[in-house]
């Protein structure tokens, strides 16, 4: 179905996540479902946690033991296909790539969207990183209820007033 809609079904999504116990610490989750000639995730990772094995067209493989959830791959991925997730108490802490203007403000309540672009819950912006090294792909930190771990993927973007 993803080839027809762009929406990854939840079974596919869950396969990319580590066990919940692993998510006590922040981990990058890579949603790169089809072979494309690309490897900045591998070359940008300072911890050698991501490999694009053998052929640049292969899908990346992540070693969750090595991944620190730093988020560097998140803003280096040209497909914006990587997010960082961490489970903390009853919350999920997400780091997402964001390339829209204006950037959300810290403390702001935002609508959180699923992979089909539907609102699933609300979240709070906890941090916004946008320095020169982020190269215009800001890293947005959001806190959402933990029930939406596998559903939440980004925050709502509305068209500007015409």
């Amino acid at each position: 179905m993803i080839e027809k809609t762009g929406v990854a079904p939840s079974a596919l999504v869950k396969k990319e996540f580590p066990e919940k116990i692993v998510l006590k610490k922040p981990k990058a989750v890579i949603e790169c479902y089809k072979d494309i000639p690309c490897n900045p995730c591998e070359t940008s990772c300072p911890f050698d946690a991501i490999k694009v094995p053998d052929d640049i067209n292969h899908r990346p493989v992540i070693d969750f033991e090595k991944c620190t959830g730093c988020g560097i791959c998140v803003y280096n991925c040209p497909g914006l296909a990587i997010n960082v997730f961490q489970l903390k108490d009853d919350k999920v802490l997400m780091k997402i790539p964001y390339e829209f203007s204006p950037l959300p403000k810290i403390g702001k309540q935002v609508n959180v969207m699923n992979r089909a672009g539907e609102k699933v819950t609300e979240g709070v912006i906890t941090k916004v990183q946008n320095t020169k090294k982020h190269n215009k792909t800001a890293l947005i930190h959001i806190e959402i209820p933990s029930a939406f771990l596998y559903d939440a993927i980004t925050i709502e973007v509305k068209p500007h007033e015409a």
């Binding site: 762009g6 790169c32 000639p37 914006l80």
Partner: protein
């Protein structure tokens, strides 16, 4: 020694990378582009590139352009003609150029044609209404000139251009109401599709435009579903309000100049249509005339950058000019190029090159 320059027509990713190789050898290079700025399509590509570090992956097209243009600075063997259109090509490798109202001639010892491609259109009722655009034009308006093409856009075509331009429209604050694709699956990278889908753009297969509606400009569009023969199915019509219809339905190589001197042209659908019959050295059927980048077959910019280097190196070698480490460079570029074409998205290109007889 032949004192005539090496002439490159088109300063996009293929032409710019060819220029760097030629300049390094000390050869006199004339770089001609019809635009007022160098870079071709890179001038409007605000997104991060795919590929590997060698093709500047993860950098934005506009930043790659700066690196490529900077690499040409400091050479006194370079002549650049911007806002100049090559209007005629002759068999003795003389080019007729038009800059403003002035014609001038350049005689070349070798020509690298890197003219790129033009956008294909789509036939439907009222497709000449203002508000019907090709996607590349929309991208130029937004990203080069800072002009919004409209406020509500219907995108046609799910190749990388359709997907990326949809995303960039949203970045400009414009609503993309829907993306339709005539085929039965998304043809561009799924990561690009997922990116627009999660911001709420519906992506629908087996659908196309039946007609545009509007008195003096687009006010709405009527879509319909297509059957397996790509024919519209009556009764499936759906009306959508929009002020812009954006067509991202493919590119066609710009081979006209080469046709003027009898370069052998052949139709290969997988490469975008009429392409020059090049050999593995990117040389056309006319000795000393090379073609690289989209004009030799539609591909990604990363491939064009490598193709430019290979074509330029062979142009030098064939002219009897020594090139440092030519053999090893050529081998590694070929390997890079093959690597980029290896995946499922390279299948069409591989098939096309096989038909052309140059699959390396």
């Amino acid at each position: 020694m032949n004192e005539a320059p090496f002439v490159i027509i088109g300063a996009g990713p293929a032409g710019l990378s060819a220029a760097e190789i030629l300049l390094k050898s000390g050869a006199h290079v004339v770089l001609i582009d019809r635009s007022d700025r160098l870079g071709g399509q890179l001038t409007k590509q605000t997104h991060m590139f795919f590929g590997s570090e060698k093709q500047h992956a993860s950098k934005r097209g506009i930043d790659i352009l700066k690196l490529m243009v900077d690499a040409l600075s400091g050479y006194d063997n370079l002549t650049v003609h911007k806002e100049t259109t090559v209007v005629g090509m002759y068999k003795d490798k003389t080019l007729a150029c038009l800059k403003g109202e002035t014609y001038f001639k350049v005689h070349a010892q070798a020509i690298i044609v890197a003219t790129g491609a033009s956008e294909k259109a789509l036939p439907f009722e009222n497709n000449d209404l203002p508000g019907v655009y090709a996607a590349g034009a929309v991208q130029t308006l937004m990203n080069v000139y800072g002009v919004k093409p409209g406020n509500k856009v219907l995108m046609v075509g799910s190749g990388n251009i359709g997907l990326i331009v949809s995303y960039q429209l949203m970045q400009a604050g414009i609503e993309v109401v829907k993306l339709v694709e005539a085929a039965d699956s998304i043809s561009g990278y799924l990561v690009h599709a997922s990116k627009i889908r999660r911001y709420g753009v519906p992506i629908e297969m087996n659908k196309s435009v039946k007609r545009a509606i509007g008195k003096t400009a687009v006010e709405a569009v009527e879509l319909w579903e297509l059957d397996e023969h790509w024919q519209g199915i009556p009764g499936t019509e759906e009306m959508i309000e929009c002020d812009t219809i954006c067509l991202a339905v493919g590119l066609a190589p710009l081979t006209e100049l080469m046709q003027q001197i009898g370069v052998e042209i052949t139709f290969i659908g997988e490469l975008g249509g009429n392409v020059p019959r090049i050999n593995p050295r990117f040389e056309t059927s006319v000795p000393g005339v090379y073609a690289c980048g989209d004009v030799a077959g539609i591909e990604e910019a990363s491939s064009a950058m490598i193709a430019g280097k290979i074509a330029a190196t062979h142009a030098l070698l064939n002219a009897g000019i020594e090139v440092d480490k030519a053999e090893s460079s050529l081998a590694s570029w070929r390997q890079e190029l093959q690597g980029l074409r290896n995946g499922p998205h390279g299948e069409k290109v591989r098939k096309g090159l096989e038909k052309l007889g140059v699959l390396s």
